[in-house]
Amino acid sequence: MSEPLILGIETSCDETGVALVRGCELLGDSVASSVDQHVRFGGVVPEVASRAHLEAMTPTVRRALDNAGVALSDVDAIAVTAGPGLAGALLVGVSAAKAYAMALGKPLYGVNHLVGHVAVDQLEHGPLPKPTIALLVSGGHTSLLLVDDLATSVISLGDTVDDAAGEAYDKVARLLELPYPGGPPIDQAAQRGNPKAIRFPRGKWGDGTYDFSFSGLKTAVARHVEDADRKGRPLVVADIAAAFQESVVDVLTRKAVDACVEHGVRTLVISGGVAANSALRALAGQRCAEAGIELRVPPPRLCTDNGAMIAALGAEVVKAGLPPSPLGLATDTSLPVGSPLAV
């Protein structure tokens, strides 16, 4: 028979995602987002997200099953995000996953959200070469990973020391009086701007680490705005957005390509919500081509948080023969990336 059918459940932030995956094939999925409820607050409100997850949980499971054309009784294993993420949000998904696993008499696997962002690429581009370097960029994370095996060997090379890249976009968007989430409007404005018009700092540039820092950049944008105020200079949104974006993607792609070269890795995966950014895709494509590295970026709908990434990682964990999680599985808001499977 074919590979096992995995039901994946993701509730770590503001998307309730459910998907059905067999091996590297996505059979069907469904995502319910509470992003609209957070817009007026300019960021994700944990209690609002948790309430939305509870409301959306079982209806989203049903929609995913319908889209996949399978029955709940066909499912062979349940995978769920155990962390990292928001405590109350994670708890809704894990509680539901345990109940589904018990009722179906199938094993439960609590898996790592960050590794899921890498695993999801297999659904689009097939099995990942071993090893692979992965750059995860979203509102919640900015991580550079060395992935030898999705289920058993993921090493963190670097992380942000302050804001996540997507968080910097949100904060700068608010400064420029652009809507939340900040990624798309800044990306759009930047396309009309001159990235060389202003020189913003590149955090942790050339410091010999694979860590990132974006809070200095955010402060520099704020200072530029205040300075222009004082001197009565016009504030050209497109130029500020383009220069900010160039600073972000320059550091991200430089460090990612350096990591590939240092570790002799020929494949770079970029995933997470910010992977949809056009400047990041363009510059990463150019630098990877120059260095002879294959660049893999999942389609935008798989880059943002969803159940498919969790089911895809669940499929790897089952294939590796790892033991299921106990029913007493705890959520872990800061689950380290070195643990693809929570214990």
Binding site: L54, V92, D229, L327, L329, T331
Partner: protein
């Protein structure tokens, strides 16, 4: 008729399996409770697993699920509801909501009026007035203990125990809900054909969230 009941709206994680015969006579098949306000998510599923082992029953034999809808601190409360919804969905059985204070009140078997109070944190309590163990008067409310007119009635629940000074009367047991009473109450309601509240949390407060103010300065943007 077999029913699984559980509640995670208070520091207790409590679960029980009850059964009624055709005449509505109740038998408790298994029950278990533990108190750990921070580990609802870890404790509930193993507790239910333990009940099944103890009673020799299979989840597939259940006819109904009943779950406490609070009120209670939200993170723990949602563990029970998410579990109840998923069980009901997977097993194809109905999931009924039971107000947590109603289960606490039912356990007293009292035939005279009393108040039931549970901890709402932030120096407030969730509370309701009962004419007897089956009859709540009005809605459940959230208030500061000193603002509640206790009418000199007996006060049950951990909310009463935490604020005896402000309430001006001592607390009497039970302090925390027991799913055994919740299962019996739910089966009684089923037998009588009474309606249940929806299995959704009783949120008596809005989420804490502040909308950012308008920008302080009016700036001239070149868009």
């Amino acid at each position: 008729m077999l029913l699984l009941a559980f509640d995670t709206a208070t520091p207790a994680v409590t679960a029980a399996i009850g059964e009624t015969d055709a005449d509505g006579a109740f038998t408790l098949r298994a029950s278990a409770s533990s108190v750990d306000a921070r580990r609802h998510g870890e404790l509930l599923a193993p507790t239910v697993q333990g009940l099944l082992a103890e009673s020799g029953l299979d989840l597939a034999e259940l006819d109904h699920i009943a779950v406490g809808i609070g009120p209670g601190p939200y993170t723990g409360l949602r563990v029970g509801l998410a579990t109840g919804h998923a069980f009901a969905d997977a097993l194809g059985v109905p999931c009924h909501g039971v107000t947590t204070l109603d289960a606490l009140a039912f356990a007293t078997r009292r035939t005279e009026p009393f108040l039931a109070l549970t901890d709402a944190r932030r120096k407030e309590v969730f509370w309701a007035r009962y004419d007897d163990h089956l009859t709540r008067v009005g809605e459940v409310r959230v208030d500061r203990p000193a603002e509640i007119d206790t009418e000199g009635l007996p006060l049950i629940g951990d909310g009463a125990r935490m604020y005896t000074d402000a309430l001006g009367s001592p607390a009497v047991e039970p302090y925390l809900p027991d799913a055994a009473a919740m299962a019996e109450l739910a089966l009684l309601r089923l037998h009588l054909g009474e309606k249940f509240p929806e299995p959704v949390p009783l949120y008596l407060r809005r989420p804490d969230a502040v909308e950012p103010g308008a920008p302080k300065k009016v700036r001239q943007w070149v868009k």
